[in-house]
Each structure stands twice: as C-alpha cells, then as structure tokens.
C-alpha cells in the first residue's frame, strides 16, 4: 500500500485550516499538523518533515514568503502550495520564484483546491 | 487624491527650484480649482495613467522662465523654443520624481507644452483639481494637480 502523503496545513484562520483538511480528505493523505503562524509552522515542519505544505502568506509572527524560504532550506524537495487572499500576480510570482509549486488565490472552491492538489501530487513525488 | 499625493507634488516642485536655482520657492495655500482658468504664458502638462489617472501641469510666465534659464545657462534672452523646452523640462523633472515614487503602478506621459493663455487647460470634470500658487523670487506660477 502506498505510503500516505504527509501534509502540513498553515493558515492563521481556523476555518480555512478546517476547510482545507476537509476538502483534501479524499486523497491518501495524513495531516501531520496544522499551524496558525509562521513560527509554529517552522517548528512543526522540522518535527514532521511533511511532503506537502499548504501555506498562507499573510500571517502573524512571520510572513508566508519568509516561511517558504526557510522550509525550502530545511527540505528542498517539499512541495508548497501557496493559498492566499493576496491574489495579486506579483505575490504569486514571488512565491513561485522562491520555490512554491502551486498558487491558489482565496476564496477557493472545493474543486479548485482539489484540482490544485491533484496536480501537485501528479508531479514527481 | 489624498494629502500625501499633494504634498509629494508640491515637494517635488520645490526641490526642483531649489536644486536648479539655489533659491527656494514658496508654496501658497492650495485651493480647489473652479471654472476660472489657471494658465500663464507657458504650460507644461504631464498625463498620468495606470492604477490612477489624472494630469499635472505647471504654468509660468516668460519672465520667470527667462530668469531660470539665465541661472542654468547664463543666457540673457531666450528664444520661444528654448522657453518651451525649459517648461517641458520642469514638467519632465517633476514627472520623473512621480515615476520614481509612485513608479511601477503608474504610467507617465511625455510632457506637452502649451503656449499662451488663450484657454484653460482641459482637465477631467469628474476629478477635483487642486491649485498650488508658487512664488520664486517675485514671480508667480502655479502647479495644478488633478489625480484620482
């Protein structure tokens, strides 16, 4: 049996964290943690070494782009899906340039997040 | 337009005078432009587009422009074309500052120079325009800012 994909969900909104968890249930995943700010996210990342991270940009303590950079330093092959209310193209470009593999603006529908995730895991893991 | 914008345009213009002529200009109390024309003998206009739209222009008389040219170039009497060049240059410099500060969200047109006080400079009706009276030495000129 294929190993479950380890996912870390990072967003300062509880509702969004729950929604992402719910919408991704159909995939063979294990949610190894949820974090509401950048600092906690990094600690969890180090502890759990997830395969995929869903990451918000505007968060307290540490903004998402800084967190993204730090995560990639720790584990360069992690796949990060930036999920953010900052839907301007410049932020998305920056995130992808830094190494994120996917960009999903909020508000997102269940189908949209599932499609994004599907494409992400469809890539060589 | 907010107060930061208007401050910025005023400061850019003041800086220009001070840097180019080593003499400060002073800004009078700004006021909201009404139907009365605000045009002197030569006017340099720049258009702004992009995230916000509008126009800025600076209007002055030949006497002041000649004195400025004298300081910059040591020329006593300026030809018409040189005067137009100068007013365009002033507008260009202000626009350069605008580009630098507001830069990437804005597009700045090349300056257009209008000669004569025949009619008022056409500005968008739906945006409030602010007039800033300027005094350099004893010369009066105006900076007019119209920005969304």
């Amino acid at each position: 049996m294929q190993d479950r994909i380890k996912v870390l969900i990072v967003d300062d909104s509880l509702i969004i964290r729950e929604a992402i968890h719910k919408h991704l249930k159909q995939f063979n995943i294990e949610v190894v943690g949820t974090a509401e700010d950048g600092k906690v996210a990094l600690e969890m990342f180090k502890a759990t070494s997830p395969d995929i991270v869903t990451l918000d940009i505007t968060m307290p303590e540490m903004d998402g782009l800084t967190v993204l950079e730090e995560m990639l330093k720790i584990k360069s092959d992690v796949k990060v899906m930036v999920v953010t209310a900052l839907s301007d193209k410049a932020t998305g470009l920056k995130a992808i340039k830094l190494g994120a593999k996917s960009f999903l603006p909020k508000p997102f529908t269940p189908d949209k997040i599932r499609d994004s995730f599907q494409r992400l895991i469809g890539q060589n893991l | 337009m907010n107060e930061t914008d208007l401050h910025f345009f005023i400061d850019s213009t003041m800086n220009y005078f001070e840097e180019i002529t080593n003499q400060k200009a002073s800004a009078g109390i700004p006021y909201i432009k009404d139907e009365a024309p605000v045009v002197l003998e030569y006017t340099g206009i720049i258009g702004i587009s992009g995230k916000r739209k509008g126009s800025i222009y600076i209007t002055a008389n030949e006497a002041m422009l000649s004195e400025i040219a004298n300081i910059i170039l040591g020329i006593d009497k300026l030809g018409k074309e040189d005067i137009k060049d100068l007013v365009g240059e002033i507008a260009n410099t202000i626009s350069g500052n605008v580009r630098q500060a507001y830069g990437s969200d804005f597009m700045i047109s090349v300056p257009v120079v209008v000669e004569g006080q025949a009619r008022d400079i056409k500005l968008p009706d739906n945006i409030q325009s602010f007039v800033v009276p300027l005094t350099w030495r004893d010369h009066k000129s105006f900076l007019v800012v119209c920005l969304e």
């Binding site: 470009l93 603006p105 994004s116 | 109390i29 409030q128």
Partner: protein, 494 residues
C-alpha cells in the same frame, strides 16, 4: 494546397489522408493566422516574436510588429512598469517544466491589462483592456517556445467596472438617503445652500490669502464658519456631514496651533475641504433626483412649524444634557404660521442662538437654583406675536440674564465705561448698558476655561445684532438679575 482548400474540391482527400490533417501546412497556417479573430503569436526562449503571427494580433496592439522584436519592447510605455517587471519573471517561469499550466495561469500578469495607445508624439490617445494567455509548445519533452493569444476584453471590463462604480455609488447614496430623507426638503435645501455659501467663502479666503499676513485670523474665521455648519448639521441630525466637518475642523485647529506656517502645511485642510464640497455636490445631485417627489409632497406650513418646534426641543434637550441642567420647554403659544415665509429662516436662526445663549449663560444648574430657593427645573418658553406692522417672538426663561456680576465687573473695570464708577446707573440705564455690552464680545468675554465656546456664542449674538439691523428689526431685553429674562425680537412684516 491552398487552392484545394479554397475550392473545397479535395475535401475528401483531406479527410481520407489523416496524416495531412494532423498538422496544418505552412499555407494552412498562414490562412488560419489571417482568418482567426484572436491575436496569435509565438515567442521563442529569448522572448522574441517569431515571424508567424495573426493579422488580428497587429490590429489589436495597433502598432508595427517586426519578427524578431522583443515582446517586452512591444509593451514598453503601453503598460505600467511593474507589470513589465512581473512579466519578465513570468516568461522565465513559463520555461520551467516543473510548473503546471493552471498555476502559471494564476500568476499571469497579463491576464487582464490596460494597454495604452499613443500617437506619434507619445501622447496617450486611448486605452483598451487586453488579455494575453501563454501556452507552452513542447518538442521532445522540452519546452521549445510559447504560443500566445491576445483578446480585446474592453467591453467586458468596462461593464464590470461600470457595475462596480454603480454599486459603490448606490451604496453611498443609500447611506445618505437614510440620513436625509427624514429631513424636510426645504430645511435640507437651506442647509445645503448655506453650507455651499460658507464653504465657497472659505475657499475664496484661502485663495486670496497672501502669506505675508498672519493667518490666525483667517483660521479663526474658518473655524467659526465650521462651527456654524456643524451646529446646523447636528440640529438636523446629519451625522454624515457632521463627521466630515469635524475632520476638516481638526485639520484647521492643528494649523492654528502651529507657528511659521507655509502653504504646504494647509494641504490636509484643503483636502478635507475638497471632500466636504464633493459630498455636498453629490447630495445635491441626489436631491435633484427627488425634486419632483419633494415638490409634489411638499409639507404643509403646519408640518414645517412642527419641525421647527422639534428642532428647538432637540436643542434644549441636548444642551441640557451636556451642561447637566434640567429645563422645561414650553412652546404652547408659539404659532409658526403667523411668521411670514420670508422671515422664517432668520427667526429660526435667532431662536437657536438665543436658546443656546439662555441655556449656557442664563439658566443655572439644579444645585445653583436650589441654593437660590428656585425650582431645580428651569423654565424656557417661546411664544409668537404679531399685529398689522410687525411680527416676532418672545423667549423667556427664569434664569439669570447672564453671569451678570462678572459682566458688570468687567464693565466697571473697562476704560470705556469709566463713567459707571462715577455715576452709578439706575436700573433702566443698567438694563440698556447691559444690552449694549451683550453685543460687545471683547468686553464680555471672561477668562473662563470655556472661553472659546463663550467667544463663539457672543460672536453669534453679534451676528444677531447685525442681522436685526439689516432687516430693520428690534430686540428688547427685560430682566431681573436673578430669575427672569425675556428677549423680544420683532421684524416689520413688509
């Protein structure tokens, strides 16, 4: 081949020869590019435009396109710099195989962009909204080049923008309507007219001010005007307007507290003035739309009279609350109908000023009244009167005329009224002297903590005097020093 296509003779051949229909030939491609309505072009890995592109592409960008030209040059001075900077990043990302099309679509900086068209002097003449899309063409599993399309989406964008603007305007207007619909149109119209006049006046004063003068008197004048407008707004409960005026006043107050002002320092105040004037203009435009409605349903005189009484009642209530006083207001003998229409505005102004003056300066607090063996609840009455020649109103209260002992002390101390010391006034002379002094703010202003407010009230009394003179009216004040004061204001009817 093109002949076959044109005549359609060899359609069957085309269909039975699948290999030839998989990839269009050069000629087919050319025809497609000539016919298709979308702008289509190709970019190589150096982001240069390749020789094949659709004629629609040239039409849409409305400029000469040269094969080999850099795509970024085409956009230079047509779209903002930040978009061009983002585009450079984006085009590089398009050549990365690890990124999928959907993700790249999300971050496409040209998905919707305002594209400006210039004339030969570099002046913008117009703009359109364009949408560029990019797809990758693979060759042996490597990204070789990009196929790009551009569409004119101006109509859709304009419509969307218009809808957004309409929504925003509608919401703003709904907020205003909630505030203004409950106000009688004549009152609102008067408020707007007075406000416009005052604000125009302020603008003119600023325009004509020469910086060699001390600007404090100008600023004081502006604040005085604003106070009047704020009072009017609060009488009508126009909170949207009061708030805007308050912001304006705060900026002017900031200026007044500073030294060595220059023109630039006035910027925040002027911006606020602009916003207030714009709001007035918008409300006026809104009222125009309701003009017919208001003309058809113009309130009766009795209704208008009722509104005036309610206005005064509100004023009494609010001031009493602010000053911790208890006041009974009696308007049983006030008949609005006997006041000619031409005098109504001025009577209303006088009433408001005198009520404020009486409550602030005349009627004491409950404790003060108790210690003077008076009913803790004060009484304020208004009534109208008229005959063939004149009409007017009386306002009476059972407080003191004014803090009369202080006023008198100041009077006695002043050089102008030196004679008082030598020749004590009889009570009627005292009465007229007090009336005279009431309209001399410079003498009457005491050194109290509420000096500003008092200055303003005495300023208003000065205005009453001026306006009465203008309308050939009269004022009479009857009082005792302790518990009675009656103002009688009359104007000739003609």
């Amino acid at each position: 081949m093109s002949e076959k296509i044109q005549t359609g003779e060899n359609q069957e051949e085309k269909h039975t020869n699948p290999a030839s229909s998989d990839h269009p030939s050069g000629d087919d491609k050319s025809i497609i590019l000539q016919t298709v309505e979308e702008g289509v072009f190709f970019l190589n890995s150096d982001f240069e435009i390749e020789p094949e592109y659709s004629s629609a592409f040239v039409d849409i960008v409305d400029q000469e396109v040269n094969p080999g030209q850099k795509f970024l040059d085409l956009l230079s001075h047509r779209v903002p710099e930040n978009i061009i900077n983002n585009l450079i990043e984006y085009l590089n990302l398009l050549f990365r195989e690890d990124l999928d099309n959907e993700t790249l679509d999300e971050i496409n900086p040209l998905s919707k962009v305002e594209f400006h068209y210039e004339n030969r002097w570099g002046l913008w003449t117009s703009s359109k909204f364009l949408s560029f899309r990019f797809r990758r063409l693979m060759n042996q599993a490597k990204i070789e080049r990009l196929v790009c399309t551009v569409k004119d989406i101006t109509q859709t964008e304009s419509l969307t923008k218009k809808i957004e603007e309409i929504e925003e305007t509608t919401n703003k207007q709904m907020d205003w309507l909630v505030n203004i619909l409950r106000i009688a149109p004549p009152l609102l119209k008067e408020f707007i007219d007075v406000s416009e006049t005052e604000l125009d006046q302020i603008d003119t004063e600023l325009k004509n001010f020469t910086s060699s003068n001390d600007c404090r008197p100008l600023l004081n004048k502006v604040i005085k005007s604003l106070h009047q407008l704020m009072n009017n707004a609060s009488l009508l409960n126009l909170s949207i307007f009061s708030e805007k005026l308050l912001n304006f006043e705060n900026e002017v107050q900031n200026l007044r507290d500073r030294e060595n002002l220059n023109g630039s320092d006035f910027v925040p105040a002027v911006i606020q003035l602009g916003e207030v004037r714009q709001m007035l203009k918008d409300i006026k435009a809104l009222m125009q739309r309701f003009k017919h409605y208001s003309n058809t349903l113009r309130p009766t005189r009795r209704y208008e009279g009722g509104l005036l009484i309610r206005t005064i009642e509100n004023l009494v209530k609010n001031l009493s609350r602010q000053l911790d006083k208890k006041i009974n207001f009696d308007a049983a003998h006030f008949d609005h109908a006997i006041i000619p229409y031409s005098h109504q505005q001025i009577f209303r102004e006088f009433l408001i000023i005198l009520v404020r003056f009486s409550i602030f300066y005349g009627i004491e607090t409950p404790d003060e009244r108790k210690s003077n063996n008076k009913d803790p609840v004060g009484l304020l009455q208004i009534e109208t009167f008229s005959d063939r020649r004149i009409c007017g109103f009386k306002l009476r209260h059972d407080g003191r005329l004014v803090r009369i002992e202080r006023l008198l002390q100041k009077t006695i101390d002043s050089v102008e009224t030196q004679s008082l010391r030598d020749h004590p006034l009889g009570s009627s002379q005292l009465g007229s002297e007090v009336v005279r002094l009431l309209f001399m703010p410079s003498l009457a202003t005491p050194t109290l903590t509420e000096a500003e407010y008092i200055k303003e009230i005495f300023g208003e009394m000065e205005m009453v005097k001026k306006k009465l003179k203008m309308h050939r009216g009269r004022i009479k004040i009857t009082f005792t020093s302790e518990n009675f004061c009656e103002y009688t204001i009359s104007l000739p009817i003609s």
